[in-house]
């Protein structure tokens, strides 16, 4: 394989992996800390993307902002949405068994999809990256690489670093990590569980929505984008080990590379490769790579 | 004491860097109760798990009636005549006492050509269930739901279930845990009645009970055996007193 093409594919793999990490980290936190299987997590990704599309004209008009402002507004709104959603809906799921959580969040997916259909319609939309990010850098005489994809990777790395710092250096992070390894214990230690859960959930939603918003120029905005990403995120959480951010990162990068290079070398079976990877890993480590608690 | 029918020889078990069991040897003979005592973290539960087959030993060998059973899985060992009870009550809470015992008894009658026969009509399982409920004094409660029993009765049911398949060896992990004085007496009577027909390993913290009922005592500290012998010699053993007994048992 041509080294430049190899480099391009590596960059693609890293970008895809980082994006997946953003989504999966929210999911693993939510499941690890609150013990909730949330099938609707993919819907938040979709909400982020559709918001980026739908709000762009409004943001431009009222705030005079461009792409970054739109994304910022998206994050704000979805964090709020996550906070409210936890309060109104998800907090009732804690006492339910996994089965009921699966079903209620399955119903939630349907509701989100349909609301999206009613509010924004079912069309596929492209989003143009902002002008200052739409160039390409040249990697060789003939090969170039879109700057925007590098931007995605940069944002993901930034957010991942911020997440790491919050988790390891702040009190909130300490509570979160304690909760991920032993849920019953932190409540007996007097931590305000309700508020912690709400914050964690809001963070998870915001991460997924951010991923959707910044990925939109590359993937386009289409119905069903949430479902596709949901399954892959679950696979990553399972491979990485539930509750482990480190595991989610490693798993996301693995999946990113397997999916990207799989597409290049075995396009016919590319879709299956990720699941084969999961099956292989679970064969040797039935509880994921970095199982917690 | 008769020859041992169940032997663990130099069994060790590591968990990563931690050596939970260090060359422990245990012999069980029919007609005797062998107690294993020790501080918390001494490795007693690990020992039972290794002997019952839930964990495999890192090194060492386990034999029963001449067969090397070291690599045998837990179900296989159970079918070969090793019964065990758990420290945390492990019963079928939704089923009645009789159903609990019948289900445990059915393990001896698993030929797949019988699979479709109605469970409630398995004569031999029903008889075994009746027998063990009688033996443990729970017959009157046979139709009660197991989850609604008092703690002491649940522990008795545990023992009953481990008896259904007529095991030769009984591995009992803290059967007296959480019991009041009256329940403890009843349990000790039950254990005494079981002595003749079984080879019993008893993990316990209740020192009075241990010295009252056991024929042989092994003392473990930090995964190793520090003393082994009959109750009198253990009581007088300096090392044991220093490490574990503190003030002398009455």
């Amino acid at each position: 394989m041509d080294p430049v093409i190899f480099l391009i594919q590596c960059l693609n793999a890293v970008q895809y992996g980082l994006l997946l990490f953003l989504i999966a980290s929210g999911l693993t936190l939510i499941f690890g800390i609150m013990g909730i299987i949330n099938l609707a997590h993919g819907s938040f990704y979709m909400v982020g993307a559709y918001m980026a599309f739908a709000l762009q004209p409004a943001v431009e008009h009222y705030l005079g902002g461009g792409f970054v402002a739109t994304v910022a507004v998206c994050i704000l709104l979805t964090t709020l949405l996550g906070y409210l959603l936890e309060w109104v809906f998800f907090s009732y799921l804690y006492t339910r068994d996994h089965l009921q959580q699966v079903l209620m969040t399955y119903g939630l997916i349907l509701v989100f999809e349909e609301l999206r259909s009613i509010l924004v319609g079912n069309d596929v939309h492209g989003i143009a990256p902002p002008p200052w990010l739409s160039g390409s850098i040249s990697l060789s005489d003939v090969m170039t690489y879109p700057v925007y994809r590098l931007f995605i990777s940069a944002v993901c790395i930034l957010v991942a670093t911020a997440l790491y710092l919050v988790l390891t250096r702040t009190r909130l992070g300490m509570k979160i990590r304690a909760g991920a390894s032993n849920r019953e214990m932190i409540s007996s230690l007097g931590v305000n569980i309700k508020r912690l859960y709400r914050i964690v959930f809001a963070i998870g939603v915001a991460l997924a929505a951010l991923a959707g918003a910044i990925a939109a120029p590359v993937t386009s905005v289409y119905p069903g984008m949430g479902n596709a990403i949901l399954i892959v995120s679950f696979v990553i959480v399972v491979i990485g080990g539930i509750g482990s951010i480190r595991g989610a990162f490693l798993a996301a990068m693995l999946v990113g590379f397997v999916a990207t290079f799989g597409q290049v070398f075995f396009p016919q079976v590319a879709g299956m490769l990720v699941y084969l990877l999961m099956a292989l890993i679970l064969l040797f480590k039935p509880e994921g790579l970095f199982h917690q608690g | 004491m008769s020859a041992p029918i169940f032997s663990a020889r130099s069994v060790s078990r590591d968990f990563g860097g931690l050596r939970a069991l260090d060359t422990v040897s245990v012999d069980l003979s029919l007609g005797s109760i062998h107690a294993v005592i020790g501080t918390n973290g001494a490795g007693k539960s690990t020992l039972v798990n290794v002997l019952s087959g839930e964990l495999s030993p890192t090194t060492g060998a386990i034999t029963m009636n001449g067969d090397d059973i070291t690599r045998w899985t837990q179900p296989r060992r159970a079918r070969a005549g090793i019964g065990r009870s758990y420290q945390r009550t492990t019963i079928f809470a939704d089923l009645s006492l009789h159903e609990n015992c019948r289900l445990a008894a059915q393990a001896s009658h698993q030929r797949f050509w019988h699979w479709l026969e109605p469970a409630s009509r398995c004569r031999r399982s029903n008889e075994a269930a009746d027998r063990v409920l009688e033996q443990t004094g729970l017959s009157a409660l046979r139709h009660q739901i197991a989850g609604s029993l008092s703690h002491g009765k649940k522990r008795q049911l545990e023992i009953a279930m481990s008896l259904t398949t007529r095991p030769q060896v009984l591995l009992l992990d803290e059967p007296l845990a959480g019991m009041g004085p009256e329940e403890t007496e009843r349990m000790l009577e039950l254990l005494a009645s079981l002595r003749n027909a079984h080879a019993i390993l008893l993990i316990e913290h209740d020192m009075d009970a241990v010295f009252q009922i056991s024929d042989v005592i092994t003392v473990m500290v930090n995964g190793s055996v520090i003393a082994h012998g009959d109750p009198e010699s253990i009581r007088n053993n300096d090392a044991v007193q220093a490490a574990y007994l503190g003030r002398a048992a009455a």
Partner: protein, 337 residues
């Protein structure tokens, strides 16, 4: 209900169902057939979920395997013969179940849910991305299979009424089999494994073997449901294996009440009826196009209000109506001494 009353009830339901094609129009007959097929699909999953306590989110893979086996193995210009088709369908679904089960059953809880989902997605991609089964367009079944010995046709089910009765007979007999199974030694062992697998192992059961057999059996029955589905509409596409299908059938099992067999049938009936209801323009007007919304909200409400599903709810109603010797599940707890 006493066993005799129950048998009488079941038989009368069967008779009513058998008479249905002659009184209802074609649309409703077809709908009942669909309900029966999904009922079978749900019952096969109930064996796993309610029987062995294994929650699978990938059961659609076996349904699809059966459907595709039927479509792919049927000749284009003639009817396939059930005598060899059925074993092939069973082989297809159990073969995939054997491979995936050997791996999946080593996990439990949420990991089991996810790995079954992943294996179903894998199967979905095989049919969706490759040309093996006609790709994302799907394939057609041109002639319904029939029962044939040599040149002599024993039973041809092209006629919709005959097909209806054939499906009814199949589903009823499998229901009877699963009923016997639930009361059998095998069923008792599965129940034990569901309640407390550790105790079962300590008693001497090789629990993996039991779970594996249950998994294979559930897959086989789902395959039969898939075969009937292919025969019904004559069209099979990869969407039969997607996870929304797996979720739907799981919904049926749980909404119906995963504790027993007729809960699965009730769930299939309830969910399909709900789908029909919410898609009905007569009642919902414009919202009928967005029936996923009403459907989703209803699912959420139902799960919230009836955690034990319809069957559990109806059991409760039944007990309130008949004071008397209470059934096992409502035995009052004796006060602790």
């Amino acid at each position: 209900m006493t066993p005799r009353k129950r048998t009488a009830f079941v038989l009368s339901v069967l008779c009513l169902l058998a008479a249905l094609p002659w009184v209802a129009n074609d649309y409703y007959t077809g709908l009942i057939v669909k309900i029966m097929i999904y009922g079978l699909f749900a019952m096969s999953l109930q064996l796993l979920v309610g029987g062995a306590g294994l929650v699978s989110l990938g059961h659609a893979a076996f349904f699809g395997a059966g459907a595709y086996a039927t479509a792919l193995l049927s000749p284009e210009s003639a009817s396939a013969n059930f005598f060899w088709l059925i074993p092939c369908v069973l082989l297809a679904s159990t073969a995939y179940a054997a491979v995936t089960g050997a791996l999946s059953l080593r996990t439990r809880g949420i990991y089991f849910i996810m790995i079954t989902l992943a294996f179903a997605q894998m199967a979905y991609y095989v049919f969706h991305d490759t040309q093996f089964g006609g790709g994302s367009d799907g394939i057609y079944l041109y002639f319904r299979p029939e029962w044939r010995v040599g040149d002599w046709t024993l039973l041809n089910i092209d006629d919709p009424h005959t097909f209806y009765l054939f499906v009814l007979a199949t589903v009823a007999s499998i229901w009877a089999f699963l009923s016997v199974l639930s009361r059998s030694r095998f069923g008792a062992a599965l129940t034990g494994i569901r309640i407390n697998e550790q105790r079962m192992r300590a008693a001497g059961y090789s629990t993996f073997a039991y779970k594996f057999v249950a998994y294979l059996l559930a897959a086989a029955l789902a395959g039969i449901a898939g075969m009937l589905f292919a025969a019904k509409d004559g069209f099979v596409n990869p969407e039969l294996l997607n996870w929304e299908q797996s979720g739907l059938v799981l919904l049926m099992v749980i909404l119906g009440g995963s504790g027993n067999l007729w809960g699965a049938l009730l769930g299939a009936f309830g969910l399909i009826a709900l789908e029909e209801l919410f898609q009905s323009e007569a009642i919902f007007g414009g919202m009928a196009n967005h029936w996923h919304l009403t459907f989703g909200l209803t699912i959420i409400a139902l799960v919230a209000v009836m955690p034990k599903g319809l069957a559990g709810f109806m059991n409760k109603l039944g007990h309130r109506a008949q004071p008397g010797p209470a059934s096992r599940s409502s035995l009052p707890h004796t006060p602790q001494p």
